[in-house]
């Protein structure tokens, strides 16, 4: 409770100011700042009257989004409920499902059984765009977004929130007990902290290894440090066979990753711990730290409002701060089938305008600790932890990169490779023997995937 009061006391203005910088949109703000209604009216174009007429009809459309993070899931469900309450003629069939299935697997299954959502949170944009499953966005949607991403000059997605970085969420009490007084400036200092925590009798890190997406946090941290920070076109070079996972950078990345496990820093039960159990691990004192993003803050505070924690980015071996911070192709997308139905498209447009309207979008971002992507300025009360995230993102020395799966165009990773690689990492971790042989397997799988994808086209 005390934490919440403190939170309220913290600046609204910092988030407001930083959000503009972070969403890389600064100047281009022609839209009204007048809230939801203004936003809707500012984007009204020649098609708007038709849309408004259409939304009075009874329309149903389906929506699908990733449900791995409980806060995001709740925030999405709340947005849908609020919209349908305000628009009783529009029914939204929320077909999103939980479980440990990867989001791509789920989406692909839905596509295969003919239940591809009309409105989709799209993550593997290039794959579905090239397969013709998603349509270009209407101008009305693009008008809402500050910097809509483009694939080959076409806009398929409206980013739901800006990319936020992962970092260490730590228990202040555990740090105090272990005698840790300052955030690490180098990776070696970070490792020294792990030793101190271990010596104090607490498991240093919890890891939600049961959920395949959680693997992306640590694996990509090291990939970004040792590969993408210096070479954003590494993926394209891998596809051309110019670089290998057995090269020095990726080998160092995965050696560092593996050491977190072999040196006993990561909880022994990593394989059966789900991502949504990591907050409990932290607040119950079963582990001192979690490597994750700001979307976890709400979950942690809910689990124990009195739990004191903070956040920092983990430096790389050169002392640089490299974070997952570049915007990518992910966001709301429309299925090609739904785009052909004028009524559905109008209803979805109404929903999107509602979703990105000032009041609603503020609620959403606050729930997930997100960074806005709209032209319209969004401000919300930042918690101390979120404030730290924004400081890092706004620091000119911070190197912003992307996860291996987020690149597109020539730099696109073969979509199926990611989860396979995480499984491979599990294999070498349970066998306790990491070697270049595994990385050669990663090369072979990448090449096979590229070949298979080319054969399918």
């Amino acid at each position: 409770m005390a934490m919440n009061k403190k939170t309220v006391a913290l600046s609204v203005s910092s988030v407001m100011a930083l959000s503009l910088v972070l969403s890389a949109c600064g100047g281009n703000n022609n839209a009204s700042n007048g809230g939801a209604n203004a936003s809707a009216s500012s984007s009204s174009s020649s098609s708007a009257p038709a849309s408004e007429a259409a939304v009075k009809k009874d329309v149903t459309f389906s929506v699908g989004y990733a449900t791995g993070d409980p806060s995001t899931k709740q925030a999405m469900a709340d947005a849908i409920a609020a919209f349908t309450k305000a628009n009783p003629n529009i029914k939204i069939k929320d077909i999103s499902e939980g479980g440990s299935m990867a989001y791509l697997d789920w989406l692909k299954t839905k596509e295969a059984v003919g239940e591809f959502p009309d409105l989709i949170e799209m993550r593997d944009t290039q794959l579905f765009a090239e397969a013709g499953k998603i349509a270009e966005l209407p101008q009305e949607w693009l008008d809402l977004i500050a910097d809509p991403p483009a694939l080959n000059g076409k806009h398929y997605t409206a980013p739901i929130a800006g990319t936020v970085p992962q970092g260490i969420i730590y228990s202040k009490k555990a740090y105090e007990k272990a005698g840790v007084t300052a955030e690490p400036k180098t990776y070696d200092e970070f490792l020294a902290i792990q030793e101190k925590l271990k010596a104090s009798g607490i498991t240093p890190l919890t890891f939600g290894g049961k959920d395949i997406f959680h693997w992306g946090f640590w694996v990509n941290k090291f990939f970004m440090d040792d590969m993408f920070a210096d070479d954003p076109h590494w993926n394209a070079k891998r596809t051309k066979g110019e670089v290998s996972f057995a090269d020095e950078g990726p080998m160092r990345a995965m050696t560092d990753f593996t050491e977190l496990f072999t040196k006993g820093y990561i909880d022994k039960g990593w394989a059966s711990t789900a991502d949504n159990q990591t907050a409990s691990m932290l607040v119950t004192g079963k582990a001192a730290q979690l490597f994750s993003g700001p979307w976890m803050f709400a979950q942690i505070s809910q689990a124990d409002p009195n739990f004191e924690y903070s956040w920092y980015p983990v430096p790389d071996r050169q002392g640089r701060i490299v974070v997952n911070g570049l915007n990518n192709l992910q966001g709301w997308a429309i299925s090609t089938d739904a785009s052909k139905d004028a009524d559905k498209q109008a209803a979805m447009t109404a929903f999107i305008k509602f979703f990105f309207s000032k009041d609603q979008y503020t609620k959403y971002l606050q729930a997930v600790n997100g960074i806005p992507t709209t032209k319209e300025t969004i401000a919300y009360e930042a918690s101390p932890q979120m404030k730290r995230v924004l400081e890092v993102m706004n620091d000119p020395n911070t190197i912003k990169s992307m996860q291996i799966n987020a690149f597109w165009g020539e730099d696109q990773m073969p979509t199926q490779w990611r989860n396979w690689f995480y499984k491979l990492a599990q294999e070498w971790l349970v066998n306790g023997k990491f070697s270049a042989e595994y990385m050669k397997k990663a090369d072979a799988e990448w090449d096979a995937n590229v070949k298979a994808n080319a054969a399918a086209k």
């Binding site: 579905f128 090239e130 290894g209 022994k268 039960g269 394989a271 059966s272 396979w420 298979a452």
Partner: protein, 311 residues
Amino acid sequence: MANTMANTKAMRAAAQREAKKKRRISYSIIFILPAFIFYTAFVIYPTLNSVNLSFTSWDGVSDQVRYIGFDNFKEMLHSERVYNALKNTLILSVSLVVLENIVALLLAMLVDQVRWAKSLFRSVFYFPVLLSGIVMGFVWAIIFNFNFGVISQLLDRIGLSEWKIDWLGDPNYALLAIIITTVWKGSGYYMIIYLAGLQGIPPELNEAAAIDGANRAQRFRHITFPLLAGAMTVSVMLSMIGALKIFDQIAVMTDGGPGFATETLTYIVYKVGFGELRQGYGTALSLVLFVLILAISLIQVKLLRRREVQM
């Protein structure tokens, strides 16, 4: 004249029989047709179509389908992952068939001999069968959880934390955890089959044997067990088919992991086809699985039928 009348009667009777036969056939067709149409649309056509797809490189998303001959089948012959899945499938199948049938037989004998609350016991043992595989998988995943599971919590409470096992995260135990879960769920079903078999054995056979001095073990070996051969044929075959097709528990409890440690043929079909965007390859794998199930089932039936006793 009499002959002519007799002939006419016979011809009329024959015509009536013929008409009756035709009517019967027509009725049969009318009754069969709806099911046949649905079965063709939802089973036969997809099955035949899958043969077609297995020769393609279709990713399952794009509209374009390209034929690549036998490449998918050649690839699986050289895939370590497929051999690993095959090994896991066989380990699971043999373990499940043996354990499910032993447990089911023991439960059936227990329920058969219990004097009171027979229905209650039968219901209790049958109850897990009614649970969906997904729900049961979630429940057992919680029980086996390293940090929050019942087993771990119990060991923590009695000071034996070092005995804790990450059942689903350790490749040495993950398959065992799936076997335990599946036996718990499946045995009740086979218990009913064995119970029906036990109740079909005439009591006088056991009584006569007992009078002749046969002890319990001897009576089981020489009377009960041989006379249960029919039930065993059915149970073993069904449990083998169920084990070869195991999916729910793996999807929910381990996702085929850690690593690829608990991937089975069914699961790899799904992972490759849906997760890895190789519908063509996944379909080719499913055809191999189909042939495997067919071959094992036929061999099994042939072997088990030999020892069946007709009363």
